[in-house]
């Protein structure tokens, strides 16, 4: 026990570095881009970055439930697309009241989640693999709903979602804040959140402890579908138009940001503040490089590289941890 405690103490500095690495990266990038172009740190620009990313925050919060429970969802982009065109079509072409269209959109999102989770449980397939299969299915559904058309001229009350403000802050920013706080509360204080994380760290042990992991699997996907629907509303409201090609790509931005922010998809670990900073790190890279006048394709390369580095760093830390443990277990072997 004494030995273990000793090694814990020496681990502290590297642990802090690891835990808060994303903050240092964020601050570093912020200073870098501010130095390249002073316009970057103007309030106008920062405000823009925040407003442009509210829907990503909400999608990422939704996917975090799936990731924390130990999986990934690749179909989210087409979920956004299908929910977007359904809601838009219902409240424009079909003339449904806004609230009814919104309810239908949320229903569709949760149904998508139910399909992903349910198929995975029923057929005992890795959820990630299921979402690879449902991705084209949702794409087809989205195109069928839209009938190949774009929808614009939303009712004024729907446009308020991104144009209205409360204490000078747009409604969608409030929604993003609410989503993050809600998720944080669920993860920290509820047993549902505890179960999600437990599943992510060891699904079999969690099942043997008496947790209905099948129910949990479906529930995490349904919750994700709910958040995806909310995000889809903000997304189409912001763009003022939507067709079936709008949406794909969001899943990768959200998952990249989550991973960057330390939300792991194989250990049930992650914090909501990390997720938010991850998103804004990606956002300032994009915005900063635009302002610096860098080639757009270069941006893609840099984004991907940063993701690889983030995952690599995480993996490296894990391996170091395991090595330390092995050394503790078999000290004699190491000295041989």
């Amino acid at each position: 026990m004494v030995k273990v405690l000793g090694s814990l103490k020496t681990m502290n500095i590297s642990m802090i570095l690891r835990k808060y690495a994303i903050i240092f990266i964020f601050l570093g990038l912020f200073l870098l881009f501010s130095a390249i172009n002073p316009a970057f740190k103007s309030w106008e620009n920062i405000r823009n970055i925040i407003i442009q990313n509210t829907y990503i925050v909400i999608v990422a919060v939704g996917i975090s439930f799936i990731m924390m429970s130990g999986s990934l969802d690749l179909s989210v982009g087409y979920q956004v697309s299908a929910i977007g065109v359904l809601t838009a079509r219902l409240m424009t072409a079909a003339g449904l009241p806004v609230w009814a269209a919104i309810l239908c959109g949320i229903g569709l999102g949760m149904a998508f989640g139910f399909i992903n989770g349910g198929v995975s449980v029923l057929l005992k397939i890795e959820p990630l693999v299921v979402t690879i299969a449902t991705l084209p299915v949702f794409r087809g559904i989205s195109n069928l709903i839209s009938g190949g058309l774009s929808y614009t001229n939303y009712p004024e009350s729907f446009r308020l979602l991104t144009r209205g403000t409360f204490i000078n802050i747009p409604y969608d920013v409030w929604l993003a804040i609410a989503a993050v706080l809600l998720a944080e509360i669920v993860y920290t204080y509820t047993y549902f959140g505890r179960y999600v994380k437990a599943m992510g760290s060891n699904e079999e042990a969690t099942r043997l402890a008496g947790v209905n992991v099948n129910f949990m699997r479906i529930a995490t996907f349904v919750i994700s579908g709910f958040f995806v629907a909310i995000a889809a509303f903000i997304y189409i409201s912001k763009l003022s138009t939507v067709n079936a090609t709008y949406g794909p790509g969001i899943e990768f931005t959200a998952m990249t940001a989550a991973i960057l922010g330390g939300v792991s998809f194989n250990s049930g670990e992650g914090k909501m503040w990390g997720l938010v900073i991850g998103i804004f790190t990606l956002a300032i890279i994009e915005n900063g490089m635009q302002l610096a006048g860098w080639n757009q394709y270069l941006q893609y390369i840099i984004k991907g590289t940063i993701l690889i580095l983030a995952i690599g760093f995480d993996r490296y830390q894990r391996i170091q941890k395991t090595k330390r443990k092995t050394r503790q277990l078999e000290p004699r072997m190491a000295t041989q």
Partner: protein, 495 residues
Amino acid sequence: MNPMSPILSVKNITKQYQGITALENVSLSFFPGEVHALLGENGAGKSTLIKIIAGAITPDEGILEFSDGIVHKFMTPALAKDYGIDVIYQEFNLVGCLTVAENICFGEKYGRFVNYQHMKKVAEQAFRLFDVDIDPSIAVYELLSSKQQIVEISRAIFRKTKLLIMDEPSAPLSVAEVEKMFTVVNKLREQGVSIIYISHRMEEIFKISDKVTVMRDGQKIITLKTSETNRSELVNYMVGRELKESFPTRKPATDQVVLKIENVSGNGDTNIFLEVNKGEIVGLAGLVGAGRTELARVIYGVDKLESGRVFVRGKEVKISSPSKAIRNGIGMIPEDRKQHGCLLTRSIKTNISLSILPRISVAGFINARKEKECTIELAEKLNIKAPNLEQQVSNLSGGNQQKVVVAKTLATDCEVMIFDEPTRGIDVGAKQEIYKLISNLAEEGKAILLITSEMEELIGLSDRIVVLSEGRIQGEILKDDFSQARILEMASGMA
């Protein structure tokens, strides 16, 4: 080569794991054209020895001397291959998605491209030896496990092995197939191959081996010529010791039946009848693969119960999942602590409260105070040694990890507790604590089903021992009749 010089001599090999001695000063020689049987209970050190010879682990002390006079302090897998050492482990070492022929010729090259025709020929040749009909172009995972075993042995033949180590090779084979395997082993022996044969089945050892070495507690007890010994002598050597551990005495069990299993089949077990009373510890004995863990998993709802009925306190219960088992007062401490018992990367508190969260929550919100109280109470009761309950479980010693798993089960207020190998990988001092813990739980009135491969533990703790063999109940032994010899005989199907 001088037939009298050994292919390999291991000398004074010692190996410790975390202060537990797995092998102590073991010296053995293996000669060409000889089948050398290793005999001993689980944990006697047989597996450690063959792993050292195969280069899978490094010994702490001692040397390995080969017929060419070269001495090694430790082996590596590559070195073992160069010396023609091949191991057939208990778990298969085949690549499931490759064909039989590809597996047999794995790692060999003929020319620049893969030569399927040649591989097929090699495989067919090997199977002719065995007189079995296996299609060399079929994928290995499609074969029955007995056929897979034959593929493994065929591979050893193909590789022109000089020293073949067979760890429980007959386990997945039928009687007829064992016979065929013996013909192959005999052929290998004629070709001058040295064979180390590990088996629990006494009759096989007498049939096939030239020499037999008995091991116990990591030590070599004796090496005998097989023709000059008999079963009871070997059993005596295997057992031959006093119980060193001290086991707490406790008040006798009540006659109140808590768990009753009636004609249960499933997961490879058939027609199991079992009763466990309040305050009683029933030991489940059997060799590896006898179906003990399988039975525990059926009772706990992890694996499917195919037929039969389970009663708790006289009431029939339908258990289709662990959560239902827990709701009906059944708890299990799984065999594999790290994979199935606990969440290694989470805190002690999170682990202990995992099974009872809904009960200590209001409207879905965990009552932090209750959680803390409950975990502190259990941690104190079980004497979990850690600076605080936020400590990550992976930082604890094996014994304390096991206590966390027990605490998690205890939190559910279960009446029946199934312990599956509760002291595996736990050091000696902590074992005593676990014994005391199990004993105390029985005194408190829990009905306990104990699965363990350690004889002392089984005899020291149980009130009654039920012996399983090949998925069936072989018999029951009452406390007064406990003897290691008797259990071993029953478990190996001799009685």
